[in-house]
């Protein structure tokens, strides 16, 4: 009793002991707190920027799609104006008729090819092409009229019959078109070799070459089935391969969310005091016992196209998650842990840690994981694309050195038997994919997953759910 008198006096004296710290202390505290807020800002900024970008691309893509559809309708209604050569009245010359026919027929043929049969690379390009052709046609006609008036002898240099034969073909293939013009026009322009005429000639040649390039694949079909309409593809569409497969890797952080039972929960009993045993559990701690730590995964993925711009993907991953806890020295004493809701059924745990600050213990979890997710492209071009993915995964715990926290006694213990080996997760993310070659691509993007399963088998121990987030990247090979 006497011994305690000294401590009592000392404690009383120290209870009222107050000292004023200097003013800069608060300023430093305030600064540190603001720094933390600022550190959070980039994350929210990136998230917001990501959402805005996704929204913009979605809007842009849908708008572009709508415009393309409108243009297709407009394009179908385009009637290529015929030249006025027939109506000019005074042109009776067979050569000019032939020229007109050649050009009209060739342009019409090109337009038809463009209109119905050509696998267009660009919708806008087609419209522009047709308009250019029309202008050229008109220019050429006007030019012909000039030639006709300036030098009627020019007709002697033209092999009308040969050209006529060519133009009489109901369908001209593009090779014929290309061959015909250079033959006609130099002759036609032979007496008037102005730069403009040469330019027109070059333009026509270029345009027809362009038409020819685009239509090469379907030119034969066009001859056989010219009236049959073929569905056009809008815009610069990128045809997704049917299959994609490759490797993925991700790195980020994992943490455990915790829900503790506050009342009527089972308090572990301490058995066999032993060394350092026989302690009374300290007061219940409600502080979160786990901090986030490193997480990574590596694996393989396979994706199957299910819609025009959507895939279903699966794969297999090795996933490593970890969380850290502040603990004190290990107590070599027995602790009982309930195995079920029946408090008479329990595990005996040999050794445990009390929450404290002596050291940081990292609990590691190694899983094999099978994710299944739906992926849809919200923006796609030939080079890059943006997609979101959402799905679920199943994980099986392979190994762990995990500490389980019991809030009722404020202790950590290690017992893999109390861990739920099979875990179900929901996952979501964004991906930016870049085509790095004809048949391959790389992708990168943020991913997040949340475990729906409790990490502990028994809810009396607590309710712990994994959440992990980070960046995922990968390399994919494409197969048509």
């Amino acid at each position: 009793m006497q011994e305690n008198e000294f401590e009592k006096q000392l404690k009383n004296a120290m209870e009222d002991f107050r000292l004023s710290p200097s003013a800069p202390v608060w300023e430093k505290v305030k600064k540190k707190l603001e720094e933390k807020k600022r550190r959070r800002l980039p994350f929210f900024f990136l998230l917001a920027a990501g959402l805005i970008t996704a929204g913009y691309f979605t809007y842009h893509f849908s708008k572009q799609h709508q415009q393309n559809e409108e243009k297709i309708v407009a394009d179908k209604n385009i009637n290529v104006p015929k030249t006025n050569l027939h109506d000019s009245g005074n042109i009776n010359d067979q050569e000019n008729i032939a020229n007109q026919n050649i050009n009209d027929t060739s342009l019409k043929s090109a337009q038809k090819s463009l209109h119905y049969n050509i696998d267009l690379y660009s919708k806008e390009k087609v419209v522009k092409q047709i308009n250019t052709d029309i202008v050229i046609n008109e220019k050429t006609a006007a030019e012909k009229q000039n030639i006709r008036h300036k030098n009627s002898k020019a007709k002697q240099n033209v092999n009308i019959k040969n050209q006529k034969e060519k133009t009489d073909n109901t369908v001209l293939d593009n090779t014929q078109i290309q061959q015909s013009l250079p033959t006609i026009q130099p002759s036609k322009l032979s007496n008037d070799s102005s730069e403009d005429q040469q330019k027109i000639k070059d333009d026509v040649r270029k345009d027809l070459a362009s038409v020819n390039k685009d239509s090469v694949a379907t030119a034969k079909d066009s001859r056989n089935n010219i009236s049959k309409p073929v569905t056009k593809k809008p815009g610069k569409t990128y045809k997704n391969p049917n299959w994609k497969f490759g490797i993925t890797a991700s790195y980020g952080r994992s943490k455990l969310t915790q829900k503790t039972k506050n009342s009527n929960s089972y308090t572990p009993q301490y058995l066999n005091s032993g060394v350092g045993g026989g302690i009374t559990p300290t007061t219940v701690s409600n502080s979160h016992p786990f901090s986030s730590s490193n997480a990574f995964s590596i694996g393989a993925v396979i994706k199957k196209k299910i819609f025009k711009n959507a895939y279903i993907s699966s794969g297999i991953n090795f996933t490593h998650l970890s969380v850290s806890s502040n603990v004190n020295k290990k107590i070599d004493s027995l602790l009982t842990v309930p195995t079920s809701n029946n408090i008479n059924s329990f595990y005996a745990v040999n050794g445990y840690y009390q929450a404290g600050s002596s050291k940081v213990y990292t609990s590691k979890y190694n899983f094999i994981e099978i994710p299944v997710s739906f992926q849809q492209y919200i923006f796609q071009s030939k080079q890059t694309s943006l997609s979101y993915n959402a799905g679920f995964s199943v994980r099986e715990l392979l190994s762990s050195n995990a500490l389980i926290y019991n809030p009722n006694s404020n202790v950590f213990f290690s017992k893999n038997d109390v861990l739920q080996k099979t875990q179900f997760q929901v996952l979501a993310g964004l991906n930016v994919e870049i085509n790095t070659g004809k048949n391959n691509s790389i992708f990168i993007g943020p991913q997040i997953s949340y475990s729906l399963s409790n990490l502990a088998k028994n809810e009396n121990i607590g309710s712990f759910h994994f959440i992990n987030y980070g960046l995922q990247a990968g390399f994919l090979l494409h197969k048509k």
């Binding site: 006096q9 120290m14 600050s357 002596s358």
Partner: protein, 186 residues
């Protein structure tokens, strides 16, 4: 303002509330930090670090106990970490088991100002100072101290006995000195 209201406002990020909470608890917490360290600058470092932890973990405070006790625990833990991490202390922070000192039965009156008493505690060797603070002032048992510091319970007991003995000697000397001064004054 009710402390619950104050905590809620702090959690909302209200800097005025944070300052209010700091002003309310800083003097008593600075006293705690002062006892565990050997200089005012170090005590202020611990106080600063401790309050950052307090504000960052305030969402974990469940209003079940006293806020003062909760903050005090954080300060003590922060001080212990500071001592371990700081070379000036860690080199001197010897918890080696020393020969058991018989616990002195003397209980001199502690008619000393709190500040002076705290200064005496700070004169103890770092290991003894820490254990003396934890046991005599904070009221932790030797088992708990053993777990907190990662030492054996017996080490804590012997270190405390030594610290207590030194403190009693100093207090007695100080009391004698004061008495002599009083007689001299009369």
């Amino acid at each position: 303002m009710d402390y619950k209201e104050l905590v809620k406002n702090c959690l909302k990020g209200n800097s005025e509330a944070q300052k209010q909470l700091y002003n309310q608890f800083a003097p008593s917490m600075f006293g705690v930090c002062y006892r565990y360290t050997k200089s005012v600058a170090d005590a202020e470092d611990v106080l600063q670090e401790g309050f950052i932890k307090v504000f960052r973990n305030l969402n974990r405070f469940r209003y079940e106990g006293e806020l003062n006790a909760w903050i005090r625990r954080i300060m003590v833990n922060t001080a212990l970490n500071y001592l371990k991490q700081n070379k000036r202390y860690s080199s001197d922070l010897s918890y080696e088991e020393i020969n058991l000192h018989p616990v002195s039965s003397e209980n001199p009156d502690i008619n000393i100002e709190a500040k002076e008493l705290a200064d005496l505690i700070r004169q103890l060797p770092t290991g003894c100072q820490t254990i003396f603070n934890l046991h005599a002032v904070e009221g932790y048992t030797h088992v708990e101290i053993g777990e907190m510091l990662g030492i054996h319970e017996g080490t804590s007991r012997s270190q405390y006995a030594r610290a207590r003995s030194i403190m009693i000697t100093w207090i007695k000397c100080r009391n004698e000195h004061v008495k002599q001064q009083r007689y001299a004054g009369k």
